[in-house]
Symmetry: C2
Subunit: 391 residues, 2 copies
């Protein structure tokens, strides 16, 4: 195959640094090989951003070889050659006959590879939090001599601290996010269908900002009256009305890196309740921004939010945010009172003051994507931190 390498999102040295960081954790876990099957972790270690989440694929990272091997469906090999930093010979195709086959699948080919390189009877790390029970059973059954170690989260925790290059993509993504919010403020009007506003918003997220296009469309969430008490609804078939409240959550994406934001819109004057909740949530958000810095804990951030909000008479029950990066949420720490994770420079969080007062059939959202700095915080998203009043 002669397909050319595309422009790489990161230089080769950046990927090798990431691989080295994973390798040092592998030493701590006393494993000889790590099998990475989580999609965002594969993106992190290779640069591959093509999307076929249901097809088995995996990185085999051995302690005894310099560079990882990427095994995936034959059809997807050209995209991997084109997108990733990896040399052609490190990208291995499994045959199309393994697709839709009840007996064997791509993970069988990956296990065969472990046998071929003499690792089938060694310490094998698997991501058991991401792998299906079926697939995990296959690994256990076919590798009876291996010592299988659960390495869920090993790569994800490394991803938490971004390089400056990753931060620059987060900033590009955040600029796209902001453009999406400003477009929403232009197009949300009485009589406009929710879907037509989403059309304009997602088009903006694709076109991007500052000459940098969006590289993917993250699912937007739009929960409007009478559904402001709901979360995670994409949008409805209704049109906006005079007096509608709109809770919008969107994210620009650059090379997988995702910078979410939430803002609340009101068509016409917001109710007293909405205004009061908005003030409390902004106070909570700004309390968080006032305390975030390297060395501070997730718990301290959550406490600051709760204290500020409660002073203004509003309680928030759900957690106050989570790390963001490739493919939106990273499943590691949470901004909640019982999470003692210590913040480090270049961690990025979605500080999310979404709040659903379920018994009152009412919700409100505001959030920012932030970077933890040595001595404070850098807010990456820049849309006005206000309750948008539209006419």
């Amino acid at each position: 195959m002669t397909i050319s390498k595309g422009p790489q999102a990161f230089p080769r040295t950046e990927y090798l640094r990431r691989v080295a960081a994973v390798r040092s954790k592998m030493v701590q876990r006393d494993i000889d090989v790590l099998v990475v099957t989580d999609g965002a972790n594969i993106t992190y270690l290779t640069g591959y951003t093509a999307k076929s989440p249901n097809d088995p694929k995996g990185i085999v990272l051995s302690m005894h070889q310099d560079e990882p091997t990427f095994i995936l469906r034959k059809m997807d090999v050209p995209a991997a050659v084109h997108q990733t930093f990896m040399r052609r010979e490190k990208i291995v195709a499994y045959p199309e006959a393994l697709m839709g086959n009840p007996d064997v699948d791509g993970y069988d080919a990956l296990i065969d590879l472990l046998f071929d390189v003499g690792l089938a009877n060694r310490g094998v790390g698997l991501e058991l939090g991401a792998l299906s029970a079926h697939s995990a059973e296959k690994f256990k059954a076919r590798l009876p001599q291996a010592r299988i170690v659960d390495c869920s989260g090993l790569v994800t925790w490394i991803r938490m601290v971004k390089s400056d290059l990753e931060i620059s993509f987060m900033k590009e993504a955040a600029a796209i996010t902001d453009a999406g919010i400003m477009r929403a403020a232009e197009v949300i009007r009485p009589g406009v269908r929710e879907a037509d506003s989403i059309a304009e918003i997602v088009a903006t997220l694709a076109r991007g900002a500052n000459g940098k296009p969006g590289t993917w469309i993250a699912t937007p969430f739009l929960c409007s009256s009478p559904r402001t008490g709901t979360s995670h609804i994409t949008w409805s078939e209704d049109a906006f009305r005079e007096g509608s409240q709109i809770n919008l959550e969107i994210a620009g994406v650059r090379h997988g890196y995702t910078a979410p934001i939430s803002r609340t819109f009101s068509i016409g004057h917001p109710s007293d309740r909405l205004r009061r909740v908005h003030e409390a949530e902004v106070a909570g958000l700004e309390a968080a921004l006032g305390i975030v810095r390297a060395g501070c804990t997730c718990s301290e951030v959550a406490q600051a939010i709760h204290r500020a909000m409660e002073k203004l008479g509003v309680k928030k029950e759900s957690r106050c945010g989570y790390p963001v990066g490739i493919d939106w949420m990273e499943r590691t720490a949470s901004l909640k009172e019982d999470d003692m994770t210590v913040l480090k420079p270049n961690m990025t969080f979605h500080v999310h003051l979404g709040n659903w007062m379920i018994d009152e059939e009412f919700g409100y959202v505001i959030s920012e994507t932030i970077r933890v700095a040595e001595c404070g915080v850098e807010v990456l998203t820049g849309a006005p931190r206000k309750l948008f009043e539209l006419s």
Copy 2:
């Protein structure tokens, strides 16, 4: 909570019919309760289409109770009340404290529920193909008295045969898909960035067709020169050029139901190779459409495709399609020569003649979403079945 029911995609009787179909399979599998955790299967059994794929949620369908119970994160309960056919008391919240908690999660609450209703020591069906190995371990460890039965695919195979109401949503989705293709033909021009064409295409998919908006944005795939040999790439940062070939795969969505299509575009006259491959692929596609009817097997469809294409000197290695419905692909049968699944009326397939000639750095796509009829085929997508020549 007083949140109102939203307009339901289907009448209550449709959901009860689906639940009854699942129950009859549960009898065959000799289980007392089925735990459904696959997102598309949850949509099928409830109408829930909100998106929070990483948060544990599940349907508990007992043989001893009339209607299923839906357990999910407290924040997501209002959306479930609003969107689903289910009575309020059948929707159970687990507390926000279970989110981002290393020790317990929402599945623990689901397991608690199994104890509460006396099913923890009975035959318990789990979808082990969709559940992570971690979560499956939790079920096994906490339910030592249960007889756990792998019911992966049980609901998915039932979904394969659509009701007429589901077909009507597939048709609405297909009309949106067609609108997306026609918009692509308008906006793909030399000098236009791929991302700007995607902006117009996804906006069209959101606006919908015939007054019916799209209800979600399925990821579009756009693989253009020099990347036509790749698959599953979303799009690149390039602009189209004179002579570019563009392989586009998109899908309109209505209430989860997805109708994909692929078409190939050429800016300027297509090369002889492209034209020759196009003719062979269309011949394969039309051979499939000529043979599909109830009673025919997946194998026979694949054989017809291969025969027609090989007559014209083109081989296709990857499978020739798969069932479609909620959330694009259903993981059941495949249109491949060794799949003896018998087609039934109202099965729907994405007949996919995508073909990547990997050693030649070249690919081509054409496909349709079809419905199997008693005596033939109904092609749901209707965009011109041609190689689009753009100037």
